[in-house]
Symmetry: C2
Subunit: 228 residues, 2 copies
């Protein structure tokens, strides 16, 4: 009965779920568990580290390991390139570049990126198509100062895809909201004005500073799903 670290993780999880080790309670130390399972302490440590990353337990030096009071559920979202998202649904992908111009970025954009007001940025508007039908409307402000080297022709490769593969992103955040379709979005997506749209707003930062702010307006019925 050799125990791998995954077996130990499973067994600890079982005891937590069965309330043998109740929420908020201390669980035995690594040394104790190692003796009980008949493995080295490092193996127990591997298992408990994984559980801590999953939010099931909380570990503190000297204080020991305790079961999380309110097990925060963590769901992982995998953000694909839009092209692959569409192809993954078994539909043909295409996109149209609707606008590409330089101009002073609006205040909400510069504010979120931490740039001075009215910083000159590049505005790109793209409509992504799935099976010939509107899929996502993308409105993007790009900070040229954060890009080294030449940018490609965004009518040939979508900004969405080029950024993911060619630019060194460091960090970012994504927020989902629901909004009534603006007249422009309604027209481009081919829906009634005021229809409920799922909006994803993303900011990304790179080594050379803030890179881009993008608002993705999804066609009605779009689902973003995650597992936990």
């Amino acid at each position: 009965m050799t125990h791998g670290w995954e077996d130990i993780r499973a067994d600890v999880l079982r005891r937590i779920r069965s309330r043998e080790w109740p929420p908020g309670g201390l669980i035995p130390g690594e040394e104790t568990l190692a003796a009980e399972f008949g493995v080295a302490r490092a193996t127990v440590n591997r298992a408990l580290t994984a559980l801590a990353e999953a939010g099931v337990i909380e570990r503190k030096k000297r204080a020991g390991t305790r079961v999380a009071e309110l097990p925060v559920r963590r769901a992982r979202l995998e953000i694909p390139v839009i092209r692959l998202d569409v192809l993954g649904r078994g539909l043909a992908y295409d996109f149209k570049l609707l606008a590409d111009r330089m101009g002073p970025a609006p205040v909400p954009v510069t504010a979120r990126l931490g740039l001075p007001e009215a910083t000159p940025m590049r505005y790109l508007e793209t409509l992504h198509l799935a099976g010939g039908r509107p899929f996502v409307h993308e409105a993007r402000w790009l900070n040229p100062a954060a890009l080294q080297g030449a940018t490609p022709d965004f009518a040939t490769i979508s900004a969405n895809e080029w950024l993911v593969t060619e630019v060194s992103l460091v960090s970012g955040d994504i927020a989902f909201t629901a909004e009534d379709a603006s007249p422009r979005e309604a027209e481009v997506l081919g829906v009634a004005p005021g229809a409920a749209l799922l909006i994803a707003e993303r900011t990304t930062h790179g080594t050379l500073g803030p890179i881009t702010w993008v608002k993705l307006a999804h066609a009605p019925g779009h689902r973003v799903s995650m597992t936990f």
Copy 2:
């Protein structure tokens, strides 16, 4: 110098970002890196394992480690109990139980949970309030067969919170969509019918089978944000 596994992770990440190791390319083996950094192989392994979990590299036995072609961005969503979400925004929390009855669950619900059609389930409708104003409307179908022991008075503790703390959840999924407010939702949330609402639909499964399906309709303006 580089000594800890986090330093090594950072350095490998830097080389990937600088294109020293380009996307799709093989990176040196653990033994080589260990010698280069002057650490044990296990330390390099720790660093590379972390990067693989983050989706930056892909590792295969015998084939080696290569930089991911399309670095799938993974964002982590922490799903809090609604009460804590509200309190975290600095607002007072309250909730009202609007409905609590048994009845045959609708087909979409049983289908998603993998239960026979018209399984008798408990329907709970709750309005969560933040600072006295409607925050989230919760429509929940609960499978009594998957719950062992007594259920509490859901007028005293919200189902949302009780389930998280008292039931052994095993797995589940969550999906976000945007929907026009139904007449019922509009009335309860105090918004115009047809207003765009951010919807979160969750199913959860436990050791005794499917536990619950819930639809959360958020008040306009609600943002669900994640970092990556």
